[in-house]
Symmetry: C2
Subunit: 368 residues, 2 copies
């Protein structure tokens, strides 16, 4: 292996890899990035065996070859180099030689044969989606995934097709639920069990930060691939079965509340200063024209916030976990927000007024 490559391109790809590798794995090879140089350029592969990242970089390759090196060390070295171009060369004793300007590094490597092969991927279906829409799906659902990895079925985001050319992402931890939809083009051919892992979604979300082009999604029986020019992300689907979420969606609403989004967010930020005990609900009293939010007896103090609202239906008082509402409001970007309440203890439905592509359910808590 002997090649010249653009330093900032290489650094960017190595930065993406840092989220994939396992630094504290029992298998040191999983903290390594596999470099594979050929006439096509330089391919970088990193995996923790649940998620894999494959980056393809333009490079002037003098001699093909491959080697795995510690991904964190290589990233730190490349990031600190000054010159625009870096030479990477396989040296004696499976060492990677890095040269740039007046700098010379020799980093220990592991032969490529020890790098775990990526599983075969049989494409069932493939579709294109706008990268902004995919970002929105993730932002509106990721927070509702159960944080406990052992809660099978709740520990990932579910995907399904709804109607022609529309894909729906759903996530729930049993206390709140997110549903978000976006258009796609192509044939998704989703497998029946379609549960995307939290870690993979997080890595994908970061990749999308700098993306404006269309993204290709491909599905196999147990895995998914996301491709954008020069980068591919593979992730294994989770085993569990997503709960029958449709049964909990409220069928009717007797109280409809609309209010200014920013005003409510601001009021909840203040209430949350005293809402440290998550097992205790905060009191929301919806009255004609005004919502009163209060915490009356915390050892940290008391708070009362009043927010102007428009209420259709009878007044209602319900208890909510403020943090759950904050998460949902953070995923809504419209000027006004709507609550559809089905009763003191019935599921509440939240939407951005005018945004039909997502809704959120949160379960009230019993007020003591």
């Amino acid at each position: 292996m002997d090649l010249f490559i653009d330093r900032s391109e290489l650094a960017r790809s190595l930065a993406s890899i840092q989220g994939v590798i396992e630094r504290r794995s029992a298998r040191p090879i999983l903290s390594h990035v596999l470099m594979h140089a050929s006439a096509d350029g330089l391919k970088l592969t990193a995996t923790d065996e649940e998620v894999a990242y494959i980056g393809e970089l333009a490079s002037s390759v003098n001699e093909p070859g491959e080697l795995a090196v510690d991904a964190a060390s290589l990233f730190q070295v490349v990031r600190a180099l000054d010159d625009a171009t870096v030479q990477l060369k396989l040296g004696k004793g499976d060492r990677l030689e890095v040269r740039a300007g007046r700098s010379f590094f020799r980093l220990p490597g592991i032969v490529a044969q020890e790098f775990p092969p990526l599983p075969a991927f049989d494409v069932r279906g493939q579709a294109m989606i706008d990268s902004g829409a995919l970002r929105r799906l993730i932002d509106q659902c990721a927070f509702a995934i159960a944080t406990d990895e052992n809660r099978l079925g709740f520990n990932g985001a579910h995907l399904e097709e709804v109607g022609p050319d529309c894909v729906r992402m759903v996530a729930t931890d049993g206390h709140r639920l997110s549903v978000s939809e976006a258009a796609f083009e192509g044939e998704l051919a989703l497998p029946p069990r379609m549960l995307l892992p939290r870690k993979g979604l997080g890595i994908l979300r970061k990749l999308l930060d700098t993306s404006n082009e269309a993204i290709t999604l491909a599905f196999g029986d147990n895995a998914m691939q996301v491709t954008r020019p020069g980068q591919r992300l593979w992730f294994r689907l989770l085993d569990g079965e997503f709960p029958e979420y449709k049964a909990v969606l409220p069928q009717s609403s007797h109280h409809t509340v609309t209010c200014d989004h920013a005003t409510l967010v601001s009021a909840l930020r203040r209430v949350s200063v005293l809402a440290h005990d998550r097992s205790r609900p905060v009191r929301f009293a919806f009255e004609p024209g005004e919502l009163t939010i209060d915490i009356r007896s915390s050892d940290r103090g008391e708070v009362t916030e009043r927010v102007v609202i428009d209420l259709e239906g009878e007044p209602l008082t319900a208890g909510f976990n403020v943090r759950y509402l904050q998460d949902i409001l953070g995923a809504i970007s419209t000027e006004n927000v709507q609550f559809d309440l089905s009763g003191e203890l019935g599921p509440a439905r939240l939407t951005g007024v005018g945004a039909d592509d997502a809704f959120f359910i949160v379960m009230p808590m019993r007020l003591s």
Copy 2:
């Protein structure tokens, strides 16, 4: 107590207080801020009994009074308020009532009598110093203070007068030493033992971030006060005796090296990627025209960096802790930097070329 006050002024003062209070103290009162309202305005006091912060804020006081409240809670509340003006009022049961716009908080308080009184402060001398100069003194010395609080004498920064109207700050942990000087006006009348604690210097440094006016320094027998309009910081001096540092200052130099500051900083940043073992020195070979810095046998790899230098005197090879050199170079802001080396194991003196107001000493380490 009943007053109206500007929200952002109050938030700014409470932000400064967060670094002073002890959150995990056995004495809950030390996590509180004492609020004292009088015809002069609102005075805020916070202390951990080693450092005290006193802020004086303009305020429209309807009723004087005082109360201590949890400083972190109050800061979070005030920071989250939307309105420009906040009402603070002493309510029933020693509670602080906070009102702004449609928000109302009631925070538990402790009667002012339980707040520890600040020690008497007998001013020996008082001087004015430019806030930029005081910032520089701290930035050039703080990193060299021993991090081990139990190393008496090494655990603070020393102040002394050198010549007329010039004050010198010195700090050392035994491995490296900083000396930084600045002009002042007035009578310092420094006590013989003059050791400033690390925590107090850190708080002072933060206050100076937003300061451009002259600062008043006042010294008592065991304490120091720093005053700027509306804010006063008091801190107890440390007990230990600063070491006789002048004995270790190198008297002569046989090798003088100058080089570009930014180039050397950049080379050391790369070397530090592999310099994880602080007990092992990095090799610096000063030759005519070129400095070679290298790590030859680390299990993380090898690195060689070359830097263009100007060398007067014979070539010399010495071992240094890279981190110590990085700290010093970070405290130098000139375009070029000068090393005066007295031998393989003799103290090395570093200065910014053209900056006579500071110098730094670092001890080489034996190369194996």
